[in-house]
Symmetry: C2
Subunit: 581 residues, 2 copies
């Protein structure tokens, strides 16, 4: 491919709407163009990257006996009504009617379609286990698409579904897939990806893991223990709190706290610390707008995912009306008698505490001297708090938790029988008895993976693509293409490289070295070959890597083999990293 023919424009200025590097480089390098909010077209360089990622995904899925299938993008709502998700998923599920008025959805995931495809096939035990996967377009109507390809509305995803006759068999396969995913990320150039426990969310099921690329621009928070191998998504991380109790409990006393609406105001006024206060956080259930109040220690925050899982339904931050009888800013666990009859929940962090400050459920008044054990004897406590930096590791018990940001590049779920049960898929066992198959599902977003690799591997000038997924393997630059001799050598080298099976992009434009190199940096091709009049005086070409780790001069006639060797060496690094798993 000659660069002069490459459709797409490259430019220097960072677009103002790009807040993360991968987004900026993909726009500046002629990889993508926005079509609508969170919807992109890809130019050839990105399509070449995604095709290579797709090839890796296929190889690794086939390696664990996956069978590639294809589900439709457009599905009848009836399929999603069977599983119950047509009703339970919010408007990120795109619903519409076809020409005959039949309700349809756009696939954002394909558990229902997978069960539909194999429901009859999987009728007897001896056909298990099996795994089917596809690589297909998905649409998730995200409220807030962001960061270029990191969070989009339309994306290509590899999604896989396995079916088993026992939990033990699922776990065995899950472990294989766990490793296959490590191999995938290693081969795609981010072996540094970490695996964390996660919350299963709308997918259902119990055990699940996310593969996280740690980066400050990630939108997930991950709790990592410095002392053991505990790693969990903040959403799923258990919060361990060591509550302390003063020796003497002061009596409960109501104090005037005029115009103090936040727990900080009150603590400042009463001279206490947030740790010695009980904060009320109020939500409403999406279903009926009924109120839910969570009492939690003043220095902690509610983990809404844990709360949602506890309730079994979705919630949103409350809008507190006058009629509710809830006294916003003055809510406390004692004498809480609001007309709206809120559901009251207590976080573990206030269990057994005393001498606490809390709202008195009366405007401009708080209590001090609150003893939870004495004053709220019937409270039941659960884990609703967000884990914090410096917190206690739920696994080893040390105060060794750090919270980092990460991008979720893949996830695996043990789904259990959620879908097979609701959709009536059964198999007959050796004894003629009927059971629901147990499922696992396994997803990787192709575009997000490409963008994540770009986040992990770039410099100030552009992406540094791993050779395994780079749009081309070699970038041939003909400096001073106006010089006929130089151009002739470069032309021949271009032909020779192609003939040797090297994927090469050839820049012989009549442009300055500055333009040529900045374009090459934006395309991020790992091996660069520079032909110039000065080099040719010594009968050499320069062969350099995009990451500057290699830079050497090789004889013109040895250039092709030098390039091939270098590509093989670079490839081996990633294959070796994958083979560690």
């Amino acid at each position: 491919m000659k660069l002069i023919n490459l459709v797409g424009e490259r430019f220097k200025e960072k677009p103002s709407d790009c807040v993360v590097d991968s987004h900026a480089f993909m726009v500046r390098g002629g990889y993508i163009k926005a079509v609508a909010n969170g919807i992109y077209s890809s130019y050839m360089p990105l399509r070449r990257v995604t095709k290579k990622i797709e090839a890796i995904l296929r190889e690794e899925m086939d390696r664990i006996d996956g069978q590639e299938v294809q589900f439709p993008v457009v599905m009848p709502a009836s399929l999603w009504q069977e599983s119950g998700r047509y009703e339970s998923i919010d408007n990120s599920l795109c619903r519409f009617k076809d020409r005959n008025g039949a309700p349809m959805v756009l696939g954002m995931t394909h558990e229902e379609a997978a069960v539909q495809l194999v429901r009859e096939y999987g009728a007897t035990y001896n056909r298990y286990p099996f795994m089917i996967y596809q690589i297909q377009t998905k649409f998730r109507d995200e409220a807030r698409p962001r960061a270029g390809l990191i969070r989009v509305r339309e994306f290509t995803m590899k999604d896989a579904y396995s079916f088993h006759t026992s939990q033990a068999d699922l776990e065995k396969y899950y472990a294989e897939c766990y490793k296959a995913y490590q191999r995938i990320f290693a081969r795609a150039g981010i072996p540094e990806t970490v695996v964390v426990q996660s919350d299963s969310g709308m997918m259902g099921g119990s055990i699940s893991h996310e593969y996280m690329l740690l980066t400050p621009i990630g939108e997930d928070s991950i709790a990592i223990c410095a002392d053991c191998d505990y790693r969990a998504n903040m959403e799923a991380a258990e919060s361990i709190v060591e509550n302390t109790r003063d020796e003497v409990s002061a009596p409960l006393e109501k104090v005037a706290t005029p115009d103090m609406h936040t727990i900080e105001d009150v603590c400042n006024f009463l001279g206490g610390d947030a740790v010695k206060s009980v904060k009320a956080v109020v939500y409403q259930k999406n279903m009926d707008d009924s109120y839910v109040i969570v009492f939690i220690r003043g220095d902690l925050d509610v983990n809404e995912t844990k709360l949602t899982n506890f309730l079994g339904e979705n919630i949103h931050p409350a809008v507190i009306t006058e009629e509710s009888g809830i006294k916003a800013g003055f809510i406390g666990p004692v004498n809480l008698d609001a007309a709206a009859k809120p559901l009251v929940l207590f976080d573990n962090s206030i269990k057994d505490t005393n001498n606490m400050v809390a709202g008195a459920n009366e405007v401009d008044f708080h209590y001090k001297g609150l003893d939870m054990t004495r004053d709220c004897p019937s409270a039941e406590y659960h884990d609703f708090a967000k884990i914090v930096d410096g917190g206690v590791c739920p696994h080893c018990g040390k105060r060794s938790i750090t919270v980092s940001r990460g991008i979720e590049v893949g996830n695996i779920f043990q789904l259990g029988t959620k879908y097979t049960k609701t959709m009536g898929m059964t198999f007959t066992d050796e004894n003629g008895e009927s059971h629901y198959p147990i499922m696992g599902c396994y997803g990787i977003g192709v575009g997000r993976l490409a963008a994540s690799v770009c986040e992990a591997h770039h410099d100030d000038y552009g992406p540094i693509w791993p050779v395994t997924i780079a749009p081309w393997q070699a970038h041939l630059c003909c400096m001073k293409s106006t010089d006929a001799d130089t151009h002739a050598v470069a032309d021949k080298l271009y032909d020779d490289l192609k003939r040797a099976g090297v994927e090469v992009i050839y820049d012989d434009r009549k442009v300055s070295a500055g333009v040529m190199f900045s374009d090459a940096d934006l395309l991020g091709v790992p091996v660069r070959v520079i032909v110039s009049p000065r080099n040719l005086k010594e009968n050499v070409c320069e062969v350099v890597t995009r990451d500057k780790s290699v830079s050497k001069k090789v004889p013109v006639e040895g250039t092709v083999s030098a390039v091939k060797e270098l590509i093989a060496e670079l490839t081996k690094v990633y294959e070796d990293a994958a083979d560690r798993f």
Copy 2:
């Protein structure tokens, strides 16, 4: 791959809803499963076929300098409003609103997206010509999906878009693409595909061609001249009529034709032939329901595509109301004075005719002795008639037209500036002047191509896949797998074939020869290898082709090389067919 692990079921009974062979085989062979009307999931065997077709498409598109890109499935309506197609396309274009109420469409074709992607890039002449293509899911909300994968609502399509600075340059590229398409169909196993002139329909533009696989189950009618190379879709075929005029024109005379509403009734009654009658065919414009009456010779039919093109808008068969003043069953060109003021059109077939029968615009009366020249002096004549079997070839003028049925497996269009003009894409030429680029577009449906190949190449028992797109190259059957020696030989052969790079499906199930062979027939793999105790006594394997053209016994140790040779021979047939273009 072991057949015992292949997800999907094969069965003998033809499903009652399958009216064409490819549909029945794809259901019976475990290739597809319906998810909704015209929406299918694919099992592994079909996915393997479509991946091979996709690989051929990529190779041939790359060969004519195509650059693979990707457009979104979901697009903002605004993009389609730019081209005017948001309004002009009927409800086969799926329209819906996203979570923010923004109107969106599902891509059924991507001219708009293509222009959007390259609008800025193509600003100067020296960047032309270029071609971009994608292989992507499309959704067309067909009113009548039919025949399995032949006409579906959701499908995968290769769509390509070329951009040029002159009509001459477009034509040069169009000719290249014309050949590339012939190569594609040859490589996919249907070199017998014919190219026909077609109507451009909703795509706009003037010249276009369709690639047709002739088969009785096709839904297109194609006019083919037996004497020259004229081939056209019926929709686009010019109807040449040799009108005859009697020497003497009888006077115009009104006759009572009580209760005769069809032209046949009237002709029978008056003792004439349909050729001597003027038939009225009535439509209404979709836009405003205004009436359009076409007068045409009684033995001919109106070609609605030609009529639509003439009118520049869509029409539907009329519902004639009493208020319209149109006397259904008695409509004629003389004294037609209806309240609804219909648009009146005349087909070439009645030009200069005399002694004709026609309606008298009065209930229960017709005219006879109608002389179009004398009685309708101001009529203007156009070509609205369908070409007929045995009709005159518009190219060589002989009465040599036959009308055949065909499946459209691909199409190419010279679009002109329809999209660049409406969407404001321009380029600056050498003199600094601004012009609209000229476009071509080129489509092939992947699933329909697979089904068409199956239609063209099957026997009573299943598909006979060309080796170039077959799900596997070799099908290894271990007869009597209960016999340990036989099983051991077959197992080793399976390993050896895989190691030799042969794509092999291995059936070692403990089933009867009948089940084994009927399953193999349904999978349609071109080379079959049979290992059986009887053969092993002679130390041979049977190697047979699915189409029965080859059947031989080869020594066990020579089987792998015999299979490889056979695959190479079979492949060469298609590659040679492609190289003829």
